[in-house]
């Protein structure tokens, strides 16, 4: 369809839309209205109507929406799944679900019972809901241009198989996931085959497995999200052209926990992210052409674990402050570039006062190579002998990769 045809199409469609919206009714549901149950209210509604639900406790079994309606709760009416049912199933386009408290869904790994499940949804909006004790929180099974906004999603199960994902998207595009808070689920936000989507301002904390987990999802943008205290941090795999800007990755602790795990990721861009107090802030394996700029790595165990399988990764103008180890690696092959970063462990000088150190900085210490091979050696960290080994290695590099160095380290913080 060309531009002109599009305009013609719109000119044809808009009068119909106006006609329908003029016809739109508001249906009230509640103890003092004609319709006592939400199911009855929805049955009475036509596409384009608004169903307003008063506060109360509704046991609707599985509430199925097959019409393009606005379903709006006043003062958070409770939709209860009685620990047996899926609670809301959206099967139409343009549905809005707003302002409900959705609790106690059933648990079934076979059917993926959810608080709200969207089947093949277009332009569906799920906003301002509180989801508590649901197996999956909001589940999108094929979606296009949907908005998931300002929901608060909490689960309480401790075991991975007892808990689904907070926001789960499968085969979707153009999603907008904004301002949600997710706690206690298996994965906070889970994407599989989700493209061209925008994830902004979400907080994902204390989830059992990952705060954010995505695979095969290309061209997505992550902005200003906070991922903290998740069982294994954040894991992103097999995706291209991801942009991650101004996110915070905090306190993801454990041997298999990463601030962010980048596996088979290509052409990504990361700027302004903060990594604080993670065991490994970034773990990269098979990552290609990732550009990292102006990120802050502070008080991590390892700021960066970059495996020799990574290629074309560029790190520039990042701050590395107070990390136990700056960089760890597993081989001597280095196909990545480090330039103009600030390393607080840098001991060089700047004779010409151009704020760039005159001698290169080698972020991989000998002891970090030893620990990579013999993890138990961690017990000897900061002892006299290991300090001695590190110093000799700095002067005569033999174990550490020769080419892994920042040729132009900054003398002062990059920003």
């Amino acid at each position: 369809m060309g531009g002109y045809a599009k305009v013609k199409f719109l000119l044809f469609v808009i009068p119909f839309l106006i006609y329908y919206s003029a016809q739109a009714k508001t249906i009230h549901v509640g103890a003092k209205w004609e319709y006592k149950s939400v199911t009855a209210g929805i049955q009475a509604a036509k596409s384009g109507d608004t169903v307003l639900v008063d506060a109360g406790h509704y046991k609707e079994k599985n509430l199925i929406i097959r019409k393009s309606i606005v379903l709006k709760g006043l003062n958070y009416p409770v939709l209860d799944g009685e620990k047996r049912y899926q609670i809301v199933s959206v099967m139409a386009k343009g549905v809005v679900v707003d302002g409900f408290k959705i609790t106690h869904s059933g648990i079934s790994s076979l059917e993926d019972l959810s608080g709200i499940k969207i089947y093949d949804g277009h332009n569906v909006v799920i906003k301002n809901n509180i989801l508590e004790d649901t197996f999956f929180g909001i589940f999108i099974e094929k979606g296009d241009n949907c908005t998931i906004e300002n929901n608060r999603i909490t689960a309480f199960n401790k075991a991975e198989q007892q808990s689904g994902n907070g926001i789960h998207c499968w085969q979707a595009k153009g999603m907008r996931i904004m301002g949600n808070t997710i706690t206690g689920h298996r994965d906070g936000i889970y994407f599989e085959f989700v493209n061209k989507s925008f994830i902004k301002g979400n907080t994902s904390t204390n989830n059992i497995r990952y705060g954010l987990h995505f695979m095969f999802s290309n061209d997505d943008t992550y902005l200003s999200n906070v991922f903290s205290n998740n069982g294994s941090g954040v894991s992103v795999m097999f995706s291209n052209r991801i942009r991650m800007l101004y996110n915070s990755f905090l306190e993801n602790w454990g041997d298999a926990a990463y601030g962010i795990l980048l596996k088979e990721i290509s052409d990504g861009y990361m700027e302004g992210n903060r990594f604080t107090k993670n065991t490994s802030a970034i773990y990269m394996e098979g990552a290609n052409r990732i550009h990292m700029k102006k990120n802050t790595f502070q008080n991590n165990g390892w700021a960066l674990k970059i495996q020799a399988s990574c290629m074309g990764v560029v790190l520039e103008r990042n701050n590395f402050i107070g990390n136990t180890f700056d960089v760890g690696t597993n081989g001597s092959l280095v196909l990545n570039t480090f330039k103009n970063n600030y390393w607080d462990k840098y001991e060089g000088y700047d004779l010409n006062k151009d704020r760039i150190g005159d001698i290169p900085y080698r972020p991989v210490s000998m002891f970090s190579m030893i620990v990579e091979k013999y993890p138990t050696a961690m017990i000897l960290f900061r002892s006299f002998i290991t300090t001695l080994l590190d110093k000799t290695e700095k002067i005569l590099p033999s174990l550490t990769p020769e080419n892994l160095k920042d040729n132009a380290p900054l003398m002062k913080k990059a920003f």
Binding site: D255, T279, G301, D344, Y374, F384, T387
Partner: protein
């Protein structure tokens, strides 16, 4: 006994070496805190001082002091005093004065710049190490009556505890890398008070890195109350056992 302790303390505190030691600690701790851009980095530099300088000064100074007061000790022995109380008073005096010197030299700057859990652990560990190495020095001094031999022995002991032991541990680590040696490592670390002290501080300083798999095993042990009490008890044993043994030796020694 009190009188002897008091005498030993005043005698040591007037000693020029002790003044220099205190001033050195004071100068280095203030300079690391003011030169480094973050206080935690200062703490790291101070850690090296505590783990290397404090044991060295304690062990060498105490052994020399014991050798130099040989005549004074003989004089005391000729008095109607128990040998045990003479020996323990000298130990008490040395331990107290070295602890005071450490507290003034390093403790006060730490309290000024880093009055938190890490700082307090560091002060505790420093004082413990001072006392432990006094105890070891006295044991070495009572075992060898030749001064030159004795001082050589304590320097070797210091070298062993601060360097050679870790080298041995590293060697063992490489040799037994294929076995689950994390738990035996905890036991082995108890054999060296410097290592034990270092681990106690490490667990607070590098907590993020220690949360890795192996680190977590150490953390699970040393980070709990049982672990902390274990470490403190072991450190106390490092004081009590040498003191007890050296007192026993001194009791039966032909002066």
């Amino acid at each position: 006994m009190k009188k002897i302790i008091k005498f030993v303390i005043t005698d040591i505190l007037r000693n020029r070496t002790m003044m220099v030691y205190t001033l050195f600690l004071l100068a280095s701790s203030f300079s690391v805190f003011s030169l480094e851009d973050s206080n935690s980095k200062g703490l790291l530099s101070l850690l090296n001082i505590i783990l290397i300088v404090v044991p060295l000064v304690s062990i060498v100074f105490s052994s020399i002091y014991v050798y130099n007061s040989a005549e004074f000790i003989e004089l005391l022995v000729s008095q109607p005093l128990k040998r045990k109380s003479i020996w323990l008073s000298i130990f008490g005096g040395l331990a107290a004065s070295l602890s005071i010197a450490f507290f003034i030299g390093a403790g006060i700057p730490v309290l000024i710049y880093q009055a938190n859990m890490i700082g307090l652990t560091m002060i505790l560990v420093g004082i413990m190490l001072s006392i432990i190495f006094v105890a070891i020095a006295m044991l070495a001094a009572v075992k060898t009556s030749d001064k030159a031999k004795g001082i050589g022995a304590v320097i070797m002991l210091w070298l062993y505890f601060s360097l050679l032991f870790d080298g041995l541990v590293l060697f063992l680590l490489f040799q037994f890398a294929d076995y689950p040696i994390e738990k035996p490592m905890i036991g082995i670390s108890a054999l060296n008070p410097i290592d034990l002290s270092r681990i106690m501080i490490l667990l607070q300083l590098d907590i993020s890195a220690m949360m890795g798999y192996t680190g977590a095993i150490f953390k699970d042990f040393f980070g709990t109350y049982t672990g902390i009490s274990f470490s403190i008890i072991v450190l106390l044993l490092w004081i009590v056992l040498p003191v007890w043994y050296s007192t026993h030796k001194f009791n039966t020694k032909d002066l």
